[in-house]
């Protein structure tokens, strides 16, 4: 069974930090405490072609499973959301975590603050939205729901497990 990457309680878990991006032009929301990779992310095809890159940028239509054999070279995967209604990136992130990837997954593009809670649950741990979030909205979005109904790529315990604490894991 694939180890699930912790989200809320994991490395750099907590409430996340809003910090200036390296370029300084907008804020990132980051839930990790390792140093942010600063090399530019390359396209999936380019990444698979060259052996020295450590960051890759996935477009919405890219098949994330192609990264399976090369996960150990990766430090950052950027997943682009061309429109917030395009939900393919949610699957990309969760599949990455299911494959055992523990590096950074960053949501970029049209990312709305109302979506970051679900994104966190799918394994995203940093956010570089087109329009910066404000702290208050982030806190509200992240603390809104007291429970979850189903397991995802985080450590959150689904309600059914809380209802049956006597059951073995799984």
């Amino acid at each position: 069974m694939v180890d699930r990457n912790p989200v809320a309680g994991g490395p750099g878990g907590g409430p996340g930090t809003l910090e200036p991006a390296p370029g300084g032009e907008r804020d990132w929301l980051r839930f990790r405490d390792d140093p942010a990779p600063d090399e530019p992310a390359v396209t999936l095809d380019a990444f698979l072609d060259q052996s020295n890159a450590g960051s890759v940028r996935l477009e919405a239509g890219d098949d994330v499973r192609r990264l399976g054999p090369v996960l150990d070279r990766l430090r950052l995967v950027e997943v682009d959301f061309p429109r917030f209604r395009d939900g393919r990136g949610f699957s990309s992130a969760r599949v990455l975590r299911e494959m055992g990837y523990t590096g950074e997954i960053k949501a970029t593009g049209d990312v709305l603050v109302d979506l970051i809670y679900f994104m966190r649950r799918c394994g995203f741990d940093s956010f570089a939205p087109n329009v910066p979030f404000n702290r208050e909205d982030v806190n509200a979005a992240m603390s809104r729901y007291p429970y979850v109904y189903q397991p995802a790529a985080d450590d959150a315990v689904p309600i059914w497990k809380l209802r049956h604490p006597d059951l073995a894991n799984g």
Binding site: F90, R121, P146, Y147, L167
Partner: protein, 544 residues
């Protein structure tokens, strides 16, 4: 029936507060309507022609008197004194103010109701056989699985922005009363040779502008693997569906483009993967939920005799009641299709009356049907007369279940911002034309379904007689379709030919119906005759 525990209640309460905050941000101008739209849609709030419309979920169509009274209260307080039951076993209110919507949702939460995922690109309210738990022909009550699937699919992180809506139905009998194969994903509970319960699984159905009937993707799925399987289906769709054209993003289009075999192969591959993640809900959780659906304490030794000395009552019994699994009990259907009325509409006072009857005579249970009627599922046969008298007084005792005046109609151009034509006035005209009771009875089962645009909310593709409203050079025009069905022999209706205006379509229906009467063989329903003789006979009658 199911009751929330502290977890369910906390989730619904949190949703109300989230929406309250979003509505405030919209009202204060921090969100544009474009930004607000997807947020309100996840809460069932549409902006229609005249006002906001709110769709309230009635999971698998089951609710009780306390909830019905709250729905009546909401109709009086937040709407204009009535509500509208829909083809997904939900209820809609047509005159909602944005400023009051959060309070309304708050009131719903006090009776364990919500509007979560009743619209938007998400897994919608699960629909089910309206006779579940009462039908004489079911293998087992399907509702515990419906409730479990409701919980599995509420706030799914990975599938929070699906390509389009996703509709699920569950039944547990051979006879299909839920239009199973017109759904994106559908389960029929079956028993295998070893006597184990499992799901026969269908995928890729749907109406809309490009109708498809779901194909059987799996003969037998063990019930304890349903969450893995459902996630596999959703992931294959979420990953592969087009995102460039909203009209081509439903799962049925992907199934069609990939082909059933390739779609099934990908689902199977993903399913095997999900099984390794061990995300399925345990048997103990099924057992917990199923306990809420234990059969009510039916009285033993009741007589099956019904005093039929009142001929009006006898007519109602013959048409509106259905065999119950418990001796001495009947399933009673309440028509929301009075001649000249609006299909599916019900006043607040009528809601209260139905609530009273449910409490007193039906173990406090009510069902909403996809045909926009209501059901009292567990009535003692000896109480039927009292029930009928009360319904008669409230204007709810029409005798037309599955008959020509039991018409499904979408809200149409009277309310809906998508519609091309009015549906309600047409439904009223057809009902008035065929109002004669003897004529209706003589015509027998005949399902007319009207949609005011190609989105097909009025299920015209599944109508024995379907009507599609279109905009023809700025005026309303209606196309006539024949031969559709949502039952276990699912079929898609076909267009007869050129369309009609509002009066012309009523005449064309009459010519169709009269041709059926002329050529039917003994015992044949309209759909049987159509299937035997085909379209040409009817075309000739319609167009001469």
């Amino acid at each position: 029936m199911y009751r929330y525990d502290k977890y369910d209640q906390a989730m619904v309460d949190a949703r109300v507060e989230e929406f309250r905050d979003q509505a405030r941000r919209r009202i204060e101008g921090h969100l544009t309507d474009d930004q607000f739209k997807p947020l309100r849609l996840k809460n069932g709030l549409y902006l229609q022609l005249h006002a906001y419309m709110l769709r309230v979920a009635i999971p698998y169509g089951t609710f009780d008197s306390r909830q019905m009274r709250k729905l009546a209260h909401i109709a009086r307080t937040y709407d204009r004194g009535y509500g509208h039951f829909t083809t997904r076993q939900n209820i809609q209110y047509n005159w909602i103010k944005l400023e009051e919507a959060a309070d309304l949702l708050g009131e719903l939460a006090t009776v364990e109701m919500h509007a979560i995922q009743t619209s938007g690109e998400s897994v919608r309210n699960i629909s089910a056989d309206q006779y579940a738990g009462a039908a004489a022909d079911e293998i087992i009550d399907p509702r515990p699985w419906c409730e479990m699937i409701r919980q599995m699919t509420t706030f799914m992180p990975e599938f929070s922005y699906l390509p389009r809506k996703f509709k699920i139905a569950v039944i547990a009998s051979k006879v299909d009363r839920a239009a199973l194969r017109w759904h994106d994903f559908a389960l029929r509970i079956v028993k295998n040779d070893a006597g184990e319960i499992g799901f026969e699984v269908y995928a890729g159905g749907g109406m809309g502008r490009t109708p498809f009937i779901a194909f059987k993707i799996r003969d037998f799925l063990p019930t304890d693997q349903i969450f893995s399987y459902l996630q596999a289906v959703l992931r294959v769709w979420n990953r592969n569906a087009r995102r460039d054209n909203i009209h081509k993003q439903r799962m049925k289009i992907l199934v069609h483009e990939l082909g059933e075999e390739e779609f099934a192969r990908q689902v199977e591959e993903e399913f095997q993967h999900f099984l390794t993640l061990a995300t399925d809900f345990p048997q103990a959780e099924y057992d917990r939920i199923a306990a809420y659906f234990a059969p009510p304490p039916f009285e033993q030794g009741l007589s099956d005799e019904i005093d039929r000395s009142d001929p009006e009552f006898a007519l109602w019994v013959d048409r509106q009641t259905v065999a119950h699994k418990a001796p001495g009990y009947a399933i009673a259907n309440i028509s929301l299709k009075p001649i000249g009325g609006i299909p599916g509409d019900i006043s607040a006072d009528q809601m209260d009356l139905v609530a009273d009857l449910a409490e007193r005579y039906s173990f406090d249970e009510i069902r909403a049907t996809h045909a926009q009627n209501l059901v009292l599922p567990h009535v003692r046969k000896q109480d039927l007369y009292a029930v009928w008298q009360a319904l008669t007084e409230a204007g709810l005792a029409d005798v037309n279940l599955d008959l020509v005046t039991d018409i499904i109609a979408c809200p149409g151009l009277d309310y809906c911002s998508l519609a091309n034509a009015r549906s309600i006035p047409l439904a009223q005209k057809i009902a008035e034309r065929f109002a004669d009771r003897q004529r209706q009875q003589d015509l027998g089962e005949l399902k007319i379904k009207i949609s005011g645009c190609i989105n097909a909310c009025g299920h015209h593709h599944a109508g024995n007689i379907g009507i599609l409203g279109v905009d023809k050079k700025g005026s309303e025009s209606y196309q006539l379709l024949l031969g559709g069905s949502g039952d276990e022999e699912t079929s898609q209706a076909k267009i007869t030919g050129p369309g009609f205006d509002e009066n012309g379509i009523v005449d064309a229906i009459e010519r169709t119906v009269e041709r059926y009467r002329a050529i039917r063989e003994p015992g044949e329903r309209f759909i049987d005759t159509y299937r035997r003789v085909g379209m040409d006979q009817f075309k000739e009658a319609i167009y001469g």
